[in-house]
């Protein structure tokens, strides 16, 4: 029996889908069976990031409506045989999701996979609520920026009141990924520090991902950045994936840039 993790953010454009793709692949590369489901109805994105857009035949709504079986709709990753993907429906009607159908789908996936990762739509409307409804845990993705953090808090609030586990008196674990950190800006006081973000949101840190041009380069090619060993964001996703798979990986302090480290050392000799 696997675990269902919803990847949420509230605000759009913070790197939620990129995080989903990289963590899914990272988990699979750690030897665990993983399936990712794109819950962003009407806006199919995850397939592009994964480079699987030409392989989509059936989408998750067709599976829920029993027009296709899970087996028919699952798309296998080109990179790892442990990784599968279920595409979002491009229907405009967001109300196609229904609690019973969602529950049936995720419960079925949970039987066959160690990790079921649901990429939530941006916003806090019904599509979002359906994504978190049956989640065992949530990964919250934020940027170190005021609107992202505020919207994330709203999304967390809804998670804390509407998820099935909470309704049953259980706990939904929440973990934070701070994405697009620019070390120099943190050092000069122009960007929020991760400790401040954690204090404001009252949440456990899962990992920090630095700003990295390689992310766009990777999505251009449909190859998640975790495959790029030189990419600092890719390395960060590697560490986060290992943590999700139960390994203890030290929290690398990416908020100290090499240049500021050099300044500090130089300062000691003044």
């Amino acid at each position: 029996m696997g675990i269902i993790i919803a990847v949420i953010s509230g605000k759009g454009g913070v790197g939620k889908t990129t995080a989903t793709a990289n963590l899914g692949l990272g988990i699979a590369l750690n030897g665990k069976k993983c399936v990712m489901v794109d819950f962003d109805i009407g806006q199919r994105n995850l397939d592009m990031i994964l480079g699987l857009e030409n392989r989509v035949v059936y989408d998750m709504v067709q599976v829920m409506d029993e027009e296709a079986s899970v087996k028919q709709a699952l798309i296998k990753s080109k990179v790892s045989e442990n990784l599968f993907f279920l595409a979002a429906s491009q229907t405009k009607d967001k109300s196609v999701l229904d609690s019973k159908k969602v529950e049936k789908l995720v419960t079925e996936l949970k039987k066959d996979f160690d990790f079921v990762i649901l990429d939530a739509p941006a916003g806090i409307e019904s599509g979002y609520e359906h994504t978190i409804e049956f989640a065992d845990a949530a990964i919250v993705v934020v940027n170190p920026e005021v609107s992202s953090i505020r919207d994330a808090d709203r999304a967390i609030g809804i998670l804390d009141s509407k998820s099935n586990k909470i309704k049953n008196g259980e706990e939904v674990k929440k973990y934070l990924i701070i994405n697009r950190i620019i070390a120099d800006m943190v050092q000069s006081g122009e960007m929020l520090k991760s400790e401040d973000i954690l204090e404001i949101l009252d949440i456990t840190l899962l990992g920090k991902v630095p700003e990295d041009k390689g992310v766009i380069d990777a999505s251009n090619q449909g190859k998640p950045v975790i495959l790029d060993k030189k990419s600092i964001a890719g390395q960060a996703y590697g560490r986060i994936s290992a943590r999700l798979c139960g390994q203890t990986v030290d929290m690398k302090d990416i908020e100290i840039s090499d240049s500021s480290l050099f300044k500090k050392i130089a300062g000691m000799f003044k």
Binding site: I124, E125, S126, E129, E145, V146, I149, R150, D153, R154, G157, I158, S161, V186, S188, G189, E190, M191, L192, K193, D196, I200
Partner: protein, 80 residues
């Protein structure tokens, strides 16, 4: 100019922290409850009591996108 620019930069992350702390606190209050909740609860109990025994009243504010609702659960006293 450069000196002042540096000072200003130093402050913007802490300005962000202060603004966020206040905005999020008020967001949370708004989503969880109204300040008059307790008073309203007491009044509801009084009204229902006129007709039937009340054990407890639970009021929750629910937010669903743009739609907001109050859900009021009235728990009646056990049947004798």
């Amino acid at each position: 100019m450069f000196g002042f620019g540096f000072l200003k930069k130093k402050r913007s992350a802490s300005i962000a922290k202060d603004r966020l702390t206040i905005a999020i606190m008020s967001d949370r209050d708004r989503t969880n409850s109204y300040p008059f909740m307790d008073e309203m609860k007491a009044e509801i109990i009084e009204v229902v009591k006129k007709y039937v025994g009340v054990k407890n009243v639970e009021i929750k504010k629910e937010v669903d996108g743009e739609f907001e609702a109050l859900s009021i659960d009235v728990e009646l006293e056990n049947k004798a």
